[in-house]
C-alpha cells in the first residue's frame, strides 16, 4: 500500500486531537486528589516493506498506542510507607497529649501540695476547727481531682478506642473497594483510559489504607494489587477480588488487639497503630495514678488508725477506695483527723500522731511520684513530637517528590495545549495540501 497524504494527515489530526483531549483532562484534574498526569504514547504506523516493490514509499502516519500514566511505583510506595509512619506518630502524639492534659490540667499535683500544706499548718494549732476543716476540705479536693483525672483518662481512652474502631471500619470498607477495583482491573484493556482511571483509584485506596495501618503491597502483572497487613509476613487483607476483614478487640485495661480472619496481627504503623500505642501509654499512666491514689489513702488511713481524733476516739480512715477513680473522702468533718496519739484525751493538743502522719506522707512522697508521672508523660509527648515532626517532614517531602513527577504542572500543560493545537493545525494543512494536489491533477486540461 502506498502512502496516502490524506490519511496521513487524518491520522496526525486524530493523534493531535487525542493529545489535546488528554491535556485538557490534565488541566481539569490539576488539583484532583490522587490524579496522575497522563500523556499520549504515539508511534509511527509502520507497514513494512512490500517484497514486490521494495523501493516504494510506504508511509501511513501516526497512531495512539496508549495512555501513559506517569506514576513511579517506587515513589508511590515511599509515599505510602512514610505516610503510614507519620500517621502513626501523629495519632500517638495526639493520644499522649490527651493523657498529659488529663493528668496535668486537672491539677492533681497542686491538690496534693495543698493537702500537704494544710497538714503542715494544722501543726500550729491542732484543735483549731478551721485548720481541721481545711485539712478535710483539701483532702476532699484531692480525692475529687484524682476522680476527675481518672475520668479524663477514661474519656481519652474511649475517644481513642472509638477512633481506632472507626479506622478499622474504614480499612474494611477500603479493602472491599480495593477488591472490586482489582476485579475491574482484571477485565480492563491494557493502557486504556479506563484502566488509568482504575489505577488512580487503586493508588488512592492504597494510600488511604496506608494512613490507617501498615500495609505491604504487591502489584501483580495484571495490575491488580495484593495487600498484606502488618508487614510482609502478616495476614493477607486483599488478594485478587477477595478481601478479608480486620477486627479489633479491647482488653480490660483498654489496650487494643487486632485480628484478620481471627488470626492475630501486629500493626506497627498507621493511625490505628498510633492509637493502640497511645492506649498502652494511657493504661500505664492510669496504673501509676491509681498507685499514687492508693498510697495516699493507705498512708493517711494507717496513720489515722494509730491516733485519736478531736473527741478522743480512735482515728477512723479518712479516705476510701484503692484507685484514682474510687478515691473518696469519707471523714464527716475536720474533727475526724487523728492528730493526737492513742490514749490522749479529747481536745488534746498533742501533735505526735500528726507529726507521724506527716512524716509517713513525706515518706510516701505522693507529690514526688506525681511529678515523676507528669514528667514521664510530658517528656514522652515532647520526644514523640520531635519524632512526629521528623516523620512528617519525610512524608511530606516524599509526597512532594511524587507530586512533582506525577502531578499536573499548568505551565507544562499550557505549552502542550499550544503544541498540539499547532500539530492539529499542521495536520489539517496537510489534508488541505492533499486536496490542493488532487485538484491540480483534476485541473489538467
Amino acid at each position: 500500500m502506498a502512502s496516502d497524504l490524506l490519511s496521513i494527515g487524518k491520522s496526525g489530526a486524530r493523534v493531535a486531537r487525542a493529545a489535546l483531549e488528554v491535556t485538557s483532562n490534565n488541566i481539569a484534574n490539576a488539583s484532583t486528589e490522587g490524579y496522575v498526569r497522563r500523556s499520549v504514547a504515539v508511534s509511527e504506523v509502520a507497514n513494512g516493506v512490500s517484497l514486490t516493490t521494495p523501493s516504494a514509499i510506504n508511509l501511513s502516519g501516526a497512531r495512539i498506542t496508549g495512555i501513559v500514566r506517569n506514576a513511579d511505583t517506587f515513589r508511590q510506595s515511599e509515599v505510602r510507607r512514610t505516610g503510614s509512619d507519620a500517621a502513626r506518630a501523629a495519632a500517638e502524639v495526639q493520644g499522649l497529649e490527651n493523657v498529659e492534659a488529663a493528668l496535668d490540667q486537672t491539677g492533681v499535683y497542686d491538690s496534693i501540695v495543698s493537702f500537704e500544706g494544710s497538714l503542715k499548718q494544722l501543726l500550729s494549732d491542732p484543735t483549731d476547727g478551721s485548720l481541721r476543716a481545711q485539712v478535710a476540705e483539701d483532702g476532699r479536693t484531692l480525692a475529687q481531682t484524682f476522680n476527675t483525672a481518672a475520668q479524663s483518662l477514661t474519656s481519652a481512652a474511649k475517644g481513642l478506642q472509638f477512633e481506632a474502631q472507626d479506622g478499622v471500619d474504614q480499612i474494611n470498607t477500603t479493602a472491599g473497594e480495593l477488591a472490586r477495583v482489582n476485579l475491574r482491573l482484571m477485565r480492563s484493556t491494557d493502557s486504556s483510559s479506563d484502566q488509568s482511571a482504575l489505577l488512580d483509584q487503586r493508588d488512592t485506596l492504597l494510600q488511604k489504607l496506608s494512613g490507617q495501618a501498615d500495609i505491604t503491597t504487591t502489584i501483580n502483572p495484571d495490575k491488580t494489587v495484593s495487600v498484606m497487613l502488618g508487614g510482609p509476613t502478616g495476614s493477607a487483607l486483599v488478594s485478587g477480588a477477595s478481601a478479608n476483614t480486620l477486627a479489633m478487640s479491647t482488653a480490660a485495661n483498654g489496650t487494643l488487639n487486632f485480628t484478620v480472619n481471627s488470626q492475630a496481627v501486629t500493626l506497627s504503623s498507621g493511625a490505628i497503630a498510633g492509637k493502640a500505642q497511645a492506649l498502652v501509654e494511657l493504661s500505664n499512666a492510669r496504673t501509676a495514678l491509681d498507685g499514687i491514689a492508693a498510697s495516699i489513702a493507705s498512708t493517711i488511713n494507717t496513720a489515722q488508725a494509730s491516733g485519736v481524733d478531736l473527741q478522743g476516739n480512735a482515728g477512723q480512715p479518712l479516705f476510701s477506695g484503692n484507685g484514682a477513680a474510687s478515691l473518696k473522702m469519707v471523714a464527716s468533718g475536720g474533727s475526724a483527723i487523728a492528730t493526737a496519739p492513742a490514749g490522749a484525751a479529747a481536745n488534746s493538743r498533742d501533735v505526735a500522731n500528726l507529726t507521724a502522719m506527716r512524716s509517713a506522707f513525706d515518706g510516701a512522697d505522693p507529690a514526688g511520684q506525681m511529678d515523676t508521672l507528669l514528667f514521664t508523660v510530658s517528656s514522652a509527648v515532647a520526644g514523640r513530637t520531635v519524632t512526629r515532626d521528623a516523620l512528617d517532614t519525610i512524608a511530606s517531602s516524599a509526597k512532594v517528590s511524587l507530586q512533582s513527577q506525577a502531578g499536573v504542572n499548568l505551565d507544562d500543560e499550557a505549552v502542550n495545549l499550544m503544541r498540539y493545537q499547532q500539530a492539529y493545525q499542521a495536520s489539517a494543512r496537510v489534508m488541505q495540501v492533499a486536496s490542493d494536489l488532487f485538484d491540480s491533477i483534476l485541473g489538467i486540461r
Binding site: 490539576a30 488539583s31 498526569r37 497529649e97 498529659e100 492534659a101 496535668d104 490540667q105 499535683y109 497542686d110 501540695v113 495543698s114 500537704e116 500544706g117 503542715k120 499548718q121 501543726l123 500550729s124 494549732d125 484543735t127 483549731d128 484525751a345 481536745n347 488534746s348 493538743r349 498533742d350 501533735v351 507529690a367 511529678d371 507528669l374 514528667f375 508523660v377 510530658s378 517528656s379 509527648v381 515532647a382 513530637t385 511530606s396 509526597k399 512532594v400 507530586q403 512533582s404 506525577a406 502531578g407 499536573v408 504542572n409 499548568l410 505551565d411 507544562d412 499550557a414 505549552v415 495545549l417 499550544m418
Partner: protein, 309 residues
C-alpha cells in the same frame, strides 16, 4: 524528557504548609507574650516544667512556714510582755519583802504588807494563766485548759504539759513558740527544795499574817528576799531566751525571703517569656510571613495561560 519540575498542586501544597507553620509560630509567640509564660503545657519542656512544679510546691509550703513564723512571733512577743509584767510584780514583792524584813514594823503594818502580797500573788497567778494568740494557755505547754490551778490550800499548781512543741519554720528549722510556767517561775529555794515565785510570795504573806512575832517575820522576809532574787534571775534568763527565739524567727524569716526571691528569679528564668526576645522573634516571624505571602501571591499569579495568545 527529564527535568526538574513542580506540579501546580505541589507548589500550592508547599506554600500552604509553609505559611501555615509560620502563622502558627507567630501565634505561639503571641500567646507567650500575652501570658508571660514560655511553657503552655508540660511537654513544651518537661524538665523545666518539673522544676517549676517543685518551685511552686516550695512556694506554697513556704507560705505556711511564714504563717507559722508569724504565729510563733506573736506568741513569743506575748510571752515576753507577760514576763515583763511578772518581773514588775516580783520587783514589787521584793520591795515589800525588804520593808517586811525591818524589825521596826508593827504587826498591823506587816498585815498590810501581807494583804498587798496577796494581791500580787493573784495578779501573778492571772499572768501565769495568760492566753496566747489562739486562746490557749500561753505558759501551759500543750495543755488544753489553764496552765496553773489553785489547789485546796489556795496554792498555785502547774497543770500544763512538761514542754511546748516546736513549730516548723521551713528548711528543717523550727522554733519553740513559748515556755512552760515552771521553766521561768520555778527555781531551787534557799533551803534547797524546789519552789516557785508564787509559792514564795504566798509563804511570805502567810508568815507575815500569822503574827508569831517580829523575829520570825523578819526571818521569813529575809529568806523570801533571797528566793525572790533567785526567781527574778530565773525570769530574766527566760526573757533572754524568749528574745533570742524572736531573733531566730527574724533570721529564718530573712532567709525565707531571700530563698523566695531566688525562687521567683528561677521561675522567671525557666518559665517566663523574655519580653525583648519574644517581641523580636515575633517581629522576625511576621516579617518572614509577610514576605512569603507576598511572594506566594506573585508566583501564583504567574500563569503561562495569561501570556500565551
Amino acid at each position: 524528557m527529564s527535568s526538574i519540575t513542580t506540579s501546580t498542586g505541589a507548589f500550592f501544597e508547599r506554600s500552604r504548609s509553609d505559611i501555615k507553620s509560620l502563622s502558627s509560630q507567630a501565634e505561639t509567640l503571641q500567646s507567650q507574650l500575652s501570658s508571660g509564660n514560655k511553657l503552655d503545657r508540660s511537654s513544651d519542656n518537661p524538665v523545666a516544667a518539673s522544676r517549676l512544679r517543685a518551685l511552686a510546691r516550695m512556694d506554697s509550703l513556704s507560705k505556711i512556714d511564714t504563717a507559722n513564723a508569724e504565729r510563733a512571733n506573736a506568741d513569743l512577743t506575748l510571752a515576753g510582755g507577760t514576763m515583763s509584767d511578772m518581773a514588775d510584780a516580783i520587783i514589787r514583792a521584793k520591795e515589800l519583802a525588804t520593808q517586811a524584813a525591818s524589825s521596826t514594823l508593827t504587826g498591823d503594818q506587816r498585815s498590810a504588807i501581807a494583804a498587798e502580797l496577796d494581791q500580787l500573788h493573784n495578779s501573778m497567778f492571772a499572768l501565769s494563766n495568760a492566753r496566747d494568740s489562739n486562746g490557749h494557755a500561753l505558759f501551759g505547754g500543750e495543755a488544753a485548759g489553764d496552765a496553773y490551778q489553785l489547789d485546796a490550800t489556795g496554792k498555785a499548781q502547774y497543770v500544763g504539759t512538761a514542754q511546748v512543741d516546736d513549730l516548723p519554720l521551713g528548711e528543717g528549722q523550727s522554733v519553740t513558740r513559748s515556755m512552760t510556767g515552771p521553766q521561768f517561775l520555778s527555781f531551787t529555794g534557799k533551803n534547797g527544795s524546789a519552789t516557785d515565785v508564787m509559792a514564795t510570795v504566798q509563804a511570805l504573806s502567810d508568815a507575815l499574817k500569822s503574827g508569831t512575832g517580829t523575829v520570825a517575820a523578819t526571818g521569813a522576809a529575809t529568806d523570801a528576799l533571797t528566793d525572790l532574787q533567785t526567781g527574778l534571775d530565773t525570769l530574766t534568763t527566760a526573757q533572754t531566751v524568749v528574745g533570742s527565739r524572736l531573733n531566730w524567727i527574724e533570721l529564718t524569716t530573712d532567709r525565707r525571703t531571700d530563698l523566695s526571691e531566688l525562687r521567683s528569679t528561677e521561675q522567671a528564668d525557666i518559665g517566663g517569656a523574655d519580653l525583648a526576645t519574644t517581641m523580636t522573634r515575633l517581629q522576625e516571624t511576621l516579617t518572614v510571613l509577610e514576605a512569603s505571602q507576598a511572594s506566594f501571591t506573585k508566583l501564583s499569579s504567574l500563569s503561562l495561560f495569561d501570556q500565551l495568545r
